[in-house]
Symmetry: C2
């Protein structure tokens, strides 16, 4: 058999990634399990765990995100709670600015503005793996509200810096953005907020 064709570990890993991309695109983030991806790829679940430590790592790889969010969050949450907003903005901007560091996020955002399925995926991934854990650690009351508010500012910041490229945000120093936008995130994560109210039907 020719070397590396249709059987080696590289090929299996790629089949898992393809199955994962399909599954996430159709069913969002929360409803997809590593077991279901293994089934769709036609491999043993143990093989998925051999290549990818967690669902978040598999997702990040399949979607070409620059890092696995789990260790990123662990490092972030190990620091002081009072500087969480500033450190989060600084770390995200530096990540987006890496070569190819924004590619995966751009794909998620592009999908979300075009298809409802992709909007679900962006919403579930960001809430479950990034902002939910941060909000829960920062202030355990109403973490969903805090995560949504912080998310709105972070997605808008990504749009302004990397997509619409509005100056001075587009070329600003990451430390300046952290000092300017970080306090907004900190406020959403830890300050008292007005009690949540639904729109009247």
């Amino acid at each position: 058999m020719p070397a590396g064709r249709r059987a080696g570990p590289t090929h299996t890993r790629q089949e898992i990634l393809d199955a994962a991309r399909d599954a996430f695109a159709v069913r969002g983030y929360d409803a997809v399990s590593l077991r279901a991806i293994a089934r769709q790829a036609g491999v043993d679940p143990a093989l998925v765990h051999h290549f990818f430590k967690s669902k978040s790592e598999l997702f990040a790889t399949a979607m070409q995100l620059p890092i696995d969010p789990k260790p990123f969050l662990t490092a972030l949450l190990a620091g002081e709670r009072d500087t969480l907003g500033i450190r989060l903005v600084h770390a995200l901007v530096e990540l987006w600015d890496r070569p190819a560091g924004f590619q995966g996020f751009l794909g998620l955002i592009r999908g979300a503005v075009s298809h409802d399925d992709a909007a679900l995926l962006l919403r579930e991934f960001v809430t479950r793996e990034i902002l939910g854990p941060i909000a829960t650690a920062a202030a355990p009351d109403t973490p969903q509200t805090r995560a949504a508010l912080a998310g709105s500012q972070i997605v808008g910041l990504a749009m302004a810096r990397k997509i619409a490229r509005i100056e001075p945000i587009a070329t600003a120093d990451p430390a300046w953005l952290a000092a300017t936008v970080g306090p907004t995130i900190q406020h959403y994560l830890t300050a008292p907020l007005p009690p949540s109210r639904k729109r009247r039907a």
Copy 2:
């Protein structure tokens, strides 16, 4: 001649709108003049002025925005400066929530995430006609910086409420969103900000 074909005012108005959409898509907002649109539509510039009071009104109509930004801003800026952020968020959310009220903005945002030309258009229109005038009226120092920061939060809020539909933002009462996100906008428009710094090359 059959009634209304190729000659009536409805047809001329439509030709002007088609020419405007083409011109804005290719050249952005700032570089396009009513005179150039008239030339492209093959009509006298006076006729463009007959149908549309201003470039902003022509743009809003061509892009299916729910209102002309000029009278919207005049009303907004007539109120108290201390409540500008809260009133802006409240007014925008109510506008987006109208039937078809978000359609035009969605088109602008979809375009911006897919094409650089459309990103230029979104950036120039929002800066020139909406956030620039607000920032200049609110705090005449560094209006571009303030407009960009406020814009980042507003675009992110639109994404969270209307596109990704993240709860509780998606179904929150407009007054609650105004009370929660309005102070962020007010801060960006009027509070002291760290001096702007460029990224090191």
